[in-house]
Symmetry: none
Subunit: 129 residues, 4 copies
Amino acid sequence: MIIINERSPLPIYEQIVQQMKEAILKGVLQGGEKLPSVRELSANLLVNPNTVSKAYQELERHGVIETLRGKGTFVSRHPVPRMEQERLEQFQNSLRQLAIEAFYLGIDAEQFKQWVDEYMKELGREKHA
Amino acid sequence: MIIINERSPLPIYEQIVQQMKEAILKGVLQGGEKLPSVRELSANLLVNPNTVSKAYQELERHGVIETLRGKGTFVSRHPVPRMEQERLEQFQNSLRQLAIEAFYLGIDAEQFKQWVDEYMKELGREKHA
Amino acid sequence: MIIINERSPLPIYEQIVQQMKEAILKGVLQGGEKLPSVRELSANLLVNPNTVSKAYQELERHGVIETLRGKGTFVSRHPVPRMEQERLEQFQNSLRQLAIEAFYLGIDAEQFKQWVDEYMKELGREKHA
Amino acid sequence: MIIINERSPLPIYEQIVQQMKEAILKGVLQGGEKLPSVRELSANLLVNPNTVSKAYQELERHGVIETLRGKGTFVSRHPVPRMEQERLEQFQNSLRQLAIEAFYLGIDAEQFKQWVDEYMKELGREKHA
DNA sequence: GTGGTCTAGACCACT
DNA sequence: GTGGTCTAGACCACG
């Protein structure tokens, strides 16, 4: 189930991308499973079909989903990271910024790492079920 | 020294905010120290004064710097986190998203936490010097 | 043997057309040989009969195969290029675009021409066997 | 100068992408040069701004152009190939198909390679001027 | 039925 | 001024 927050500064299509990725990692969406069609999901979320389409295209560029001609869109069975170099750099930059923010919020390294563990476990848990 | 990357998707004013915060944490800028004026810094960085002004406003909202009417802008001596609740939630959301990206990039919890340690230590190191 | 890649951006009927052409050039399919019926091939490839039908129509328009009413579809004995002017222009346009991509990929003219030789020889080899 | 062919099966945004790449390689557009704004070009070509925007975003993903926040879009000074692996495979597939087409059009390897030389030289010629 | 493209027109953040 | 996002609604190729 995807929830759109219209007030979020994050573009709607990015919200879809992120929540889809999360759902797939958590096993809510399994490899090979069919995703709702663009029209279906757009009606469901009350957003424009173009917005959903943009999200699907980004997910496909990231290798997370695949479109089968005329059949629809499916979760990739064997996702292979794409643009790994660029995305790795982005990841590290984001993490650096989070470290700065943590300091100002009075979060120490222990607390930080504890959350990392927690979130990583949440994602991995049901995947192998 | 602040370095602006015009190609970054991060708004320039955010780049200033983040690098200011980093400089303060690292002790490059000390509590009570006077910051360059908006005009000065904007000339220095070759950016629009409005951009620097926006950065200073955000830093002030975050309680990191203080403006003394007619005297200038100064690094706060005892920064107290503001909007802690809201920013804490943002922090956790960002961390959650990073965890998802980490999975897709094949980064495991150990590697992730090692980087957290590394970055947190970088920040703390010179502050206590 | 034709292999369909449902993930390819190339329409399925085009995949059939191209692989048929390749098989004929390589001598896997000989001039005068009978092709499987639309039904047969579509069952074989697990694709919609309309898709195979569309492929056969394009092959016939290109003069590569011939339909004999009531008898079936056959590989042309003496294929004569049709719409030569139009297809020649398309060929040159495609080649021009490939040259542009080659530049951006850092492929020089020597490498490019070496591949041309390689692929052309692959096609010609078995034909004269 | 970009020319849109509304009858072409190639999407308009792809026509823009290809012709931009060609113009840059030929040196018509120099590294660092400012491109027309989205609105400007769209008015110029009589197409929708969204279409031009889509083309610019694809060019940026390919590392050919860069957008500077609030300033506009510029030709990259040092384009670095992106997604090289995928694009290289696409390149080779396209070349293989062209080889097949060449056979049916009666184009031999010599003629083919001569055109390769011709087109590659066209692109490189004015670049170093 | 599916996704992909395009138009027309609006709003927003950033500089 | 710039590009980025979103909506509404249309058309098309593919299967």
